[in-house]
């Protein structure tokens, strides 16, 4: 069964009915990321596809509200007309999932809390979520936050909803902070560094006073996949660093940062168009999209990115891209039955952080654990939180963990 409610009230009615009949619901936006997360154990689907439309946009207040089924493209376009954008650079997962599903929705973006390269500077999706309206698993409409940036009134449920994968409530409307688009974006490239030296160079950039908004490392084989000849022709690794802002300021900071590296690597500066292709490619994991292996996303201590890779290579062949100054490691692992879960999690553990199976080798979604199984106390808290919103487990059962 597939329901397509057109209003918040209809969503609440659908949940109430599902709860009365004890029939779990799978929650879907554009359905572009159905393969992210575990398989949902539900017979019926509720789609927000018909709940569309921007409900408030105040460019001078840097705020936009939209119904959750609004296509991301509509939001991006509306903001673009005013020279603004969502600063957290939401990922385009159609690259890794092969174009499955329709348009991604703003509700799906928030439910997954996925952020692109600017995460290191501007924060994650969760940091830009100012307010929500949602229907919980009891069929109640709840609101939290609002349309203003400074708000500490009551508990911050926005943070909980961001990254809850539709297991706590069905978002019906979200309000987001927006930012002016930079006038210019320069991308400084350092060629030929190995992983450890590349990570160190990224750390220097992020620790500089120059307001760096992206720092990623592409090994030679990945650097050539982005359709940018300056990278492909070099035939070596590329450490890429982004600086954004007003043109004169970007020129100054790029020169100053470039100079600070001295002669340790050959460098170049990409223009805005090439830079945009590089950062969109990194955001969408384009270099690893065609890999036949299992695709993992590891969030770890930035300086430990290379160490995680070194540990993993002792057990299996791996292709990788480092983003967030080394703190976000995308991995394509050629692995056995468990999609490399044991090897990846063992490699991450000593460095801190966690690993998510984004695309199983077989295509998924699977029955195996996609997210790191939480320690017992956190599992207990997670279970209680889930039940405080959705006592009968009507919403997306099994999506994040078995039983949640």
């Amino acid at each position: 069964m597939h329901t397509l409610p057109t209003s918040e009230t209809q969503i609440a009615d659908t949940v109430l009915a599902a709860r009365a009949e004890r029939t779990p619901l799978e929650i879907s936006g554009g359905g572009t990321k159905r393969r992210l997360g575990r398989r949902v154990q539900a017979a019926a689907t509720l789609s927000t596809d018909a709940l569309r439309g921007i409900t408030l946009y105040r460019p001078t207040e840097l705020v936009i509200s939209a119904n959750s089924g609004t296509p991301l493209s509509e939001i991006t376009q509306t903001l673009g007309e005013q020279g603004q954008e969502l600063a957290f650079e939401p990922i385009d997962h159609r690259t890794v999932y092969g174009g499955e599903g329709a348009e991604p929705t703003i509700g799906g973006v928030i439910a997954c809390n996925l952020s692109g390269p600017r995460r290191v500077n501007a924060g994650a999706a969760r940091d830009h979520l100012l307010g929500v309206r949602a229907v919980n698993g009891r069929g109640e409409v709840i609101k939290n936050g609002g349309r203003v940036v400074k708000n500490v009134t009551g508990y911050d449920l926005c943070k909980l909803f961001a990254g809850s994968f539709g297991t706590l409530g069905i978002l019906t409307e979200v309000t987001l902070k927006v930012r002016p688009k930079a006038e210019r974006a320069a991308t400084l490239v350092l060629f030929g560094l190995d992983e450890v030296a590349g990570q160190a160079a990224m750390a220097e950039a992020l620790g500089s006073p120059f307001d760096v908004t992206g720092a990623a490392y592409l090994p030679a084989t990945q650097a050539s996949t982005l359709g940018v000849s300056a990278l492909a022709d070099a035939g070596t690794s590329a450490t890429v660093i982004r600086l954004e802002g007003f043109a004169d300021s970007v020129a100054y900071r790029t020169d100053a940062l470039r100079g600070s590296y001295g002669p340790r690597a050959a460098t170049t500066v990409l223009d805005d168009a090439d830079g945009a292709a590089v950062w969109a490619g990194i955001r969408d994991v384009r270099p690893l999209a065609a890999s036949s292996g299992s695709l993992w996303r590891v969030s770890t201590t930035p300086s430990e990115g290379p160490a995680v890779l070194a540990r993993l290579r002792e057990r299996s062949p791996v292709d990788a891209v480092l983003d967030w100054g080394g703190g976000l490691v995308w991995l394509a692992v050629e692995a056995g039955d468990d999609d490399g879960a044991a090897a990846v999690r063992d490699a991450v553990r000593p460095s801190g952080g966690h690993a998510t199976l984004v695309r199983p080798a077989g295509g998924g979604p699977g029955e195996g654990e996609v997210f790191d199984p939480p320690p017992p106390v956190l599992a207990m808290l997670g279970d209680r939180i889930k039940r405080s919103f959705d006592p009968d487990r009507i919403l997306n059962p099994g999506r994040m963990y078995a039983g949640v």
């Binding site: 207040e61 609002g146 009134t153 926005c158």
Partner: protein
């Protein structure tokens, strides 16, 4: 006096035994305080109108000791109120008569500075400024900068999700916090987050931040530290009307510039701060902006040129661009000392903390002016103009009978006005006891019950800071709160009793 839950007589009756038991749980017996004169320092916080002596005060020296004290209180049904430096302006740290206050003043060590990963890990009693002090030799700083930063603790900042004048660019506490060690009400210890970004599973770190000491006790924190910009410089722009100043703010933001700080003061605030700081503020202006930008000398000059050009189109009265570090410090001195300065011209003031959509500023100031006339209290307005956080300071004299109550009544009217125009009750000071009973203005019973169920999930017995944030109820909902079966299948949301 605000209503607090009735003390548990059985707990109070065991006070001597409880003190003895707690002394057995920590290494320094003298860190359990039971003498009235020593406990006096804990009876109030920054909201000094409210006072309540606790039953006992404990100052643990480690996470393990906090854990043991919490487990003991949990097992014995004893209420606990956590305390940092006691600067809360919302009565967040106000004790209950039958409570044990757990203070973090002995948890004052900096544990780890990691410049390569841009993090600092500190014990919860380290002050906000203490973090910056520990990293500034490498030109790093901790960004959120509450005006109380010299004394307030990171524990209090996390509990209140505190902000400051420079949060427009760098965000508030929640945007700069990466991990905590948290002791749950039953004494279990959990680690949330760390040096990596983004949570595995539900974002409990985000939920803890701003939870006002109601979900657990923070004993350690890992925060993001940032490299300082090469330099920073403010400009001071004054106007003949609030409307012109408001339009200038809109135009600056609309031009794509996000200054590091964008502060607004109205005429009474200008006069109060000028009398105190002698910063050369324009006394004949109706409104004044302090706009600060960062970068190299050339970048600063270019940005200030743009801002001055925008200001010139909004009929400014004066424009003064700081020419030196000394002048910058002077311009900020007045703003940073604003609360103290207002205290100099009137014996008492009541500091409000609502947020409004920035575009509604002229309307809101007009309506506050009308309230000011109706109640007969002068109001000075200080406004974080970039993010809409409004601090009206209501000037009154507590020695005059009834003035405090009327000032509070007027304050409540102002906060209702903030909600009415699309804002909220509190932007950075928190709900505490002060705004507890106004929560239904912003949230309906369903919204509040969802939040209360979350508290129950962490603290099923409601032992931790129970009289704060939510209006008092006899029986708060349980976290799994099973709803009756045979739910209606139509007719929208089932209205359920919350009290």
């Amino acid at each position: 006096m605000i209503e607090l839950p009735p003390p548990r007589e059985d707990v109070l009756a065991r006070r001597a035994q409880i003190a003895a038991d707690l002394r057995g749980l920590i290494d320094k017996p003298e860190a359990v305080i039971d003498a009235a004169d020593e406990m006096r320092a804990y009876e109030t916080d920054g909201l000094t109108a409210y006072r309540q002596m606790p039953m006992l005060v404990v100052l643990p020296g480690s996470t393990e000791e906090v854990s043991r004290v919490m487990a003991y209180c949990h097992d014995n049904g004893i209420r606990v109120v956590a305390r940092g430096a006691g600067t809360s302006l919302a009565g967040g740290a106000l004790p209950l008569a039958d409570s044990v206050v757990i203070g973090v003043s002995r948890l004052s060590r900096v544990l780890d500075i990691d410049f390569a990963n841009r993090t600092a890990t500190v014990q919860a009693g380290v002050t906000n400024m203490g973090i910056t002090r520990a990293v500034e030799h490498e030109q790093y700083f901790y960004a959120p900068d509450p005006s109380s930063q010299i004394v307030c603790t990171i524990a209090g900042n996390i509990a209140m999700n505190s902000g400051g004048a420079h949060c427009l660019k760098y965000g508030v506490t929640t945007n700069n916090l990466m991990g905590v060690t948290l002791v749950l009400p039953d004494g279990q210890v959990v680690e949330l987050g760390g040096k990596h970004l983004d949570a595995a599973g539900y974002d409990l770190l985000g939920l803890i931040t701003g939870s006002e000491g109601g979900l657990g006790i923070v004993t350690e924190a890992t925060v993001r530290i940032l490299r300082s910009a090469e330099g920073a410089r403010p400009a001071l722009i004054s106007f003949d009307s609030n409307e012109a100043a408001g339009a200038c703010v809109d135009a600056i933001i609309g031009s794509g510039i996000i200054p590091v700080a964008l502060e607004f003061m109205d005429k009474p605030a200008i006069h109060a701060t000028e009398a105190f700081a002698k910063a050369g503020y324009p006394l004949d202006a109706e409104a004044m902006l302090i706009v600060e930008v960062e970068g190299s000398e050339a970048e600063i000059a270019a940005l200030l040129d743009r801002i001055v050009a925008i200001a010139q189109a909004h009929d400014p009265r004066t424009i003064r661009v700081s020419q030196s570090d000394a002048e910058s410090a002077l311009i900020w001195k007045g703003r940073k000392a604003a609360f103290g300065a207002v205290g100099q011209i009137m014996p008492d003031y009541y500091c409000m903390d609502g947020t409004i959509p920035t575009g509604t500023l002229p309307e809101v100031l007009g309506r506050i002016g009308a309230l000011s006339a109706a109640y007969g209290f002068q109001v000075a307005n200080i406004f974080h103009a970039g993010d809409g956080n409004l601090h009206p300071l209501i000037l009154y004299d507590a020695n005059k009978p009834g003035e405090l109550a009327r000032a509070e009544e007027m304050g409540a009217e102002i906060l209702k006005l903030c909600v009415d125009v699309g804002g909220c009750l509190t932007g950075e000071h928190g709900v505490g006891v002060e705004k507890r009973d106004l929560m239904p203005v912003q949230f309906n019973p369903t919204d509040l019950d969802q939040q209360r169920r979350l508290k129950s999930a962490f603290d099923p017995q409601w032992l931790l800071n129970p009289a704060k944030v939510f209006p008092l109820t006899d029986t708060p909902p349980a976290w799994d709160d099973p709803a009756p079966l045979n739910l209606p299948t139509h007719g929208g949301v089932d209205a359920h009793a919350s009290h």
